[in-house]
Symmetry: C2
Subunit: 429 residues, 2 copies
């Protein structure tokens, strides 16, 4: 942990710099696999599953029987916890539904905007030691709410061809239409082009390692949309003397256990608190399962003292944290003025893990400074806004002459003519 006192503004960007990731080597592999899957479909996909995931599969699709049998093994307590989370996530995302926007901008000129679902979406859930079923809730629930027709999920199986039971339970509960035993670059390529069993989708959502991240980027060059550009997860806490050092330390550690490249920053107007939190981190660290990972992330963490809240806010806005916890007396100051953050957690009893699992907000958020220009995943991520307009004869008489003048000034005579032929016809009629 590095403690930094009153850093001058010109040093902020250096202090707050995220680790840069270079993907040049990976990109070549990704392009190669994409071309192969584009040409050879299912056969290529299975070849890479064997090569990278050491698994030989006849069927990629998880059958109904397999799903039902597997789900039986999920403990009731876990099912109940997931159902509570689902209920909250549903409520918060349902509330984001926007009505059609309708305006008569000029007499006879009716314009409106309506949102319609992206018809086919693909969710990617990584494999590995931790089964990230919570991400299925965050992605499948809003997709189902807006009415996406096809909601498929790709996740790698273990070497025996099995998928984690809780993953399957969450997928079924949240309305995923098909689950495929497929991970890594080959999964993203399969959803990009479609194969015999895996449908092509229009937008891909979900986290992944560096291979999946680059594969999602490459998928965009084939016309697909993706949820967000990715980067390591990060948390910034702002706290003053009113904060509970033990709670703050627990939040910083919950972020640190994600990975050794997780970013953890504490900003404080109290030097005393910085010291207390540093001590608490050491105490709590010992009891963590993922101590080795967390301790590496914490070693790179920064505890920054700022002499007042105005300076602290400017520094935080420059960093644009994915997760932003506010534990200060004047919490309204940060809540009202923060411009760049993914999700904001306010007060002593609002740990980041509440939003990660069950409060109702989405946990797929902009990292890497993207909170300056991207929203986290929300209901609109699964919709497109389409505009409509219908103009009456009178309406065209009202705005037509202005359009003719502007089209003329832009040198577009056919645009002008589309108005003129109609106005002439109205005048004749």
């Amino acid at each position: 942990m590095e403690i930094i006192i009153n850093p001058p503004q010109k040093k902020w960007s250096k202090i707050l710099k995220r680790p840069t990731q270079t993907f040049d080597q990976i990109e070549k592999t990704v392009h190669y696999i994409f071309k192969d899957v584009q040409l050879h479909g299912e056969k290529a996909v299975k070849k890479y599953a064997k090569k990278y995931d050491k698994v030989t599969l006849n069927e990629l699709l998880v059958s109904q029987i397999e799903m039902d049998e597997c789900i039986k093994t999920v403990p009731e307590t876990l099912k109940n916890a997931i159902q509570l989370a689902k209920s909250n996530i549903e409520k918060f995302h349902q509330a984001q539904v926007t009505k059609s926007v309708k305006v008569e901008t000029t007499n006879g000129v009716n314009c409106w905007q309506e949102k319609r679902a992206i018809q086919k979406v693909g969710l990617y859930i990584p494999g590995g030691t931790a089964p990230l079923f919570s991400t299925i809730l965050m992605l499948a629930i809003p997709a189902k709410l807006v009415g996406c027709k096809e909601i498929i999920l790709c996740t790698p199986s273990d070497k025996s061809g099995n998928i984690n039971a809780t993953i399957l339970y969450a997928a079924k509960l949240c309305g995923v239409t098909k689950v495929f035993k497929l991970g890594g670059i080959q999964a993203i390529a399969a959803m990009t082009f479609g194969t015999k069993s895996v449908p092509k989708v229009y937008k891909i959502f979900g986290p992944g390692n560096q291979f999946v991240t680059v594969a999602k980027q490459v998928a965009t060059t084939y016309g697909l949309a993706i949820d967000l550009p990715a980067g390591p997860s990060e948390l910034l806490v702002v706290a003053d003397d009113s904060a509970n050092a033990s709670f703050v330390a627990s939040d910083l550690l919950s972020q640190a256990e994600h990975g050794i490249d997780s970013q953890v920053i504490l900003v404080s107007t109290s030097r005393k608190l910085l010291d207390k939190v540093a001590v608490e981190i050491k105490t709590q660290m010992d009891n963590l399962q993922r101590k080795e990972i967390a301790s590496k992330a914490i070693a790179n963490s920064k505890l920054i003292y700022c002499e007042n809240h105005d300076i602290a806010l400017d520094l935080i806005d420059e960093y644009a944290p994915e997760h932003f916890i506010v534990c200060t007396e004047n919490e309204e100051f940060y809540v009202n003025n923060i411009q760049n953050a993914g999700s904001v957690f306010i007060g002593k009893y609002t740990p980041e893990s509440a939003g990660d699992y069950a409060s109702g907000t989405n946990h797929t958020l902009p990292t890497n400074g993207f909170a300056k220009n991207y929203s986290g995943v929300n209901l609109d991520s699964f919709l497109k806004a389409i505009t409509f307009q219908k103009i009456t004869k009178k309406g065209l008489q009202n705005i037509g002459p202005s359009i003719e003048i502007m089209a003329d000034a832009e040198g577009l005579s056919a645009h002008k003519n589309a108005i003129t032929v109609r106005l002439n016809s109205i005048n004749k009629g």
Copy 2:
């Protein structure tokens, strides 16, 4: 013009295929210029302005005096037309403002979503023969409405260093904060990194040639967001016997004059109408200023007969047109059921050029099939949605135990611990 009768579904994707664009050669140039601008800033930018635009500039920023003098030359009639367009665009985009979404998902768990402006945006307006001032209205008006702090505009000057007067008029009218005489790759690079005079921005909007398109893509690899992936403009008209062939032809031609790669498609359930429109196109073509361009685009256009409206709708949804004009008796059928389109124009008196200039809807729309997964530019394009949450002691007691169970199941003990330390403290207190 190719007339196609009842194409079988399996041939649709071939018939509706857009021209593929390859950018490999351009990419190298773009990367080279970006690196140069990143290293040498203003000096590099001016070097490329000299090389590509044949202009030597001391100051890139258009001064207040220069702007005011130049604006005086814009004719009053054109000013009035632009003001009418501005008023309609403002009304339609102002109506898109969404209120904060607030939900108590569980007793004591308060979640809300608020939108905040992207602080710094850059607009790009191409130079060339036609001064596209209408695009300034479409981009600067919503940026100003949501309160973006910095709204800069880059557009190339002519060889004497002058910018078109109407461009400057529109920029000033719509609240652009600074206008720079800068075009092409070097303009996008300047907005990506910032130079001595040009501020770095967070999101870039606006059309451009293939160099600008690739430069915008490359800007995203440096952390910037862009409005939309680009492609040639396109129009699909669906029409039956009730349609006016002359009006339909005028719309197809207005699209065709954009460029030789513009896509123009007519779908009809009436073979008679297809023939009539083909004749009308020939008649109207002769009077167009941009006849040479339009005739090349029309030569690649397709007139498709479908035997009923259900088939026509499916074909249109597969194409996902940027602009979609509905001139049929049962217009409600298309309006209610279309899933993939950028903007929909309904009825005889609603030409595409109304939406291009003055009805109020935005003309920056998804091309190239991106209407399947992207919205056109709208008010939200200039905002980010941020989520907030505040949980009470009681609230944490309500959802905390479920979070502990889920974090445990995902193997994230520090996430669990952030809940446990708080629940323990509440129980003790």
